[in-house]
Symmetry: C2
Subunit: 409 residues, 2 copies
Amino acid sequence: MVSGEIADANAFFMANALTERGFCVTRVSMVGDQEGQIQDALLQSRDRAEAVIVSGGLGPTSDDLTTPAAAKAFGESLVLHEESLGQIRERFARGGMEMPRSNEKQAVFPASAEIIPNPVGTAPGFCLKSRGKAIFFLPGVPRELQHLFRETVLPRLERERKGNIHYRARTLKIFGLTESAIADRLSGIRAEHFSATLAYLPRYPENHIKIIVQGSDLEEVKRNLAELERVIRGKLEGRVFAVDRETLEEIVGRLLKERQATLAVAESCTGGLVAHRMTNIPGSSEYFERGVVVYSNQAKTELLEVPKELLAELGAVSAPVAEKMAEGMRHLSRATIGLAITGIAGPAGGSADKPVGTVFIALSGPDGTASRRYQFWGDRDQVKMISAQTALEWVRRYFLFNGIAGLRR
Amino acid sequence: MVSGEIADANAFFMANALTERGFCVTRVSMVGDQEGQIQDALLQSRDRAEAVIVSGGLGPTSDDLTTPAAAKAFGESLVLHEESLGQIRERFARGGMEMPRSNEKQAVFPASAEIIPNPVGTAPGFCLKSRGKAIFFLPGVPRELQHLFRETVLPRLERERKGNIHYRARTLKIFGLTESAIADRLSGIRAEHFSATLAYLPRYPENHIKIIVQGSDLEEVKRNLAELERVIRGKLEGRVFAVDRETLEEIVGRLLKERQATLAVAESCTGGLVAHRMTNIPGSSEYFERGVVVYSNQAKTELLEVPKELLAELGAVSAPVAEKMAEGMRHLSRATIGLAITGIAGPAGGSADKPVGTVFIALSGPDGTASRRYQFWGDRDQVKMISAQTALEWVRRYFLFNGIAGLRR
């Protein structure tokens, strides 16, 4: 039964990586925990494609049925692989634990299987050949799957690839333009002149464009990709904030480091999300000085020196309060930049004047303070997400356009 | 080509809802934007199952190919449905817009289709019958899909269900036990005695168990579910922190509210994640007083009154510093509970004494302060996640076991 609780992020990850390398992923199937269904799916997939990758169902519990289903589907017996068993035992021993009996089954494989050792987890993967086609079995834990996929499966598929076509891909990440606005701006571009395809990928609150270029001459492929990227960036005027796997917080972190600047953040409606994103980056302690989450007015006054009278007069969600928060943060922390967000994430708390989604963002630097009012759409999560993204984009644009004057443009 | 950038959340949503109602979802397939592949998948699915639900590809753009593919697969012509066209036009008119020509194709359906009106978007769904089986086509926009699925598809499937079997499902969420430890503790339970199936669902850093009970007598089904849940909870001794869609932060929020208590959080290595999670809950401003993200020693001293000498002597990652952070947070914010997390998230910063993953958690309440050292595994993201989860679990257990004495057990 496909219970809906599926680690479909794995399919996402693999299909993405394969497509970028020019493999055509014709079908993604999710199958439930019933041996017969797994067998059927394995045989159907083998007949449909040149290679098959299976993830999950290699765990220690009774509903992990992939290995016996594979053995039955391809008419093989199951055998215990002593070397793998030793490695699993050793892994537990290093953590000071004895291996539970149930983990023994993770060392049992179809007789002809080629074992794919798993240095990052207990369940090894394996590979079978059937009718000349490779069928890979990987554990479902995302970190383990990704490791084995990158280190073993992908290099093997690339080695065995027929023909001599090269592929290069690049994802451009855009914030601040809708999908249709991007499509309008790029409508004059003929991707086929660059032997390229373009895909539009909405990733709230970002929009991504994926360029895939192919050709028999690798140098030409690279040139085409670079040229097409240049043309697209020209049409989007500074709205591309990152490429490929880079995130906005990485870009902001790099800019802070390059300028030897530090950042301190005062958050009301984003509730710590900006700090969380900034501190996801290894080494962020170099430039992320501190953050405060000031839900109560008392906290705004005590931690940021926002005058009580201002809060009483204008309310916490207002431009002057946002500016005082940013300035107070900067002053008290002695960071180069103080960033502040105050708004109404909802679902309650909105009014006619300031409906849910009303958000003020302020940035205070050595050259002054700026703020702006936004009206965002969506539920609580979405308002938090787009507010945090907009605030981080302010820091990027502060450096890109040379300070507060540039932000006011 | 399945590009890996797939709205698989729809499959997740539907499979989950169907499974909970006892439908057996045998397969989820994702197919790329090629008419031939869509046709093949439609026919294969019809032959494999008693009903098929298709989502996506009903939009206005040229890569929306589901409707023509369905017509070809089932040998039907395409016809314009005037009533739907009028409704789409009217929808645009209400937004003060003229309908773009490209939306006209959303009113074109296979000749025998039964239209499923869409009150929350432009693209109506439709239903075809082929070889006596119902094939539903729904738009891919999650909000629209969920509406039509709940209002139309699910009631129809339940009406047409063969037999008179009832189903009830419950998910138990567990933290602090590994999957194999859970499996070991539950190994004596015979789910079939309760006409139930159990599924293990690892959701890092949580583990979930889904119970599905079936039977012809609804009262007996309910009794079996309640009894099996009681047995499982007994074996897991307070490690079940939530059921079904509830999250740990919701549970913690509800406990704080019930006790009329407030929470203030001082985060070092979790970098705002605890505050972010707590403030995801609507109404959290009632009990979440404030948070600080204190990466620098200076911030720990200034915002939490941690003595400089203590930091110099023992380092920021130590039990006394964690306790001072919790106490300082509680004192300065006047919240009922001060919670503090300090540790080494990595990848840098570890030492022989305190390797990456070393984390101290402290909680200070009216009855005193407790702290504990943890050694977590994993990369930076994982250490942040499991530290935040453990810290929230401390608050839950503080209330569950009556204060600091209970935490020290």
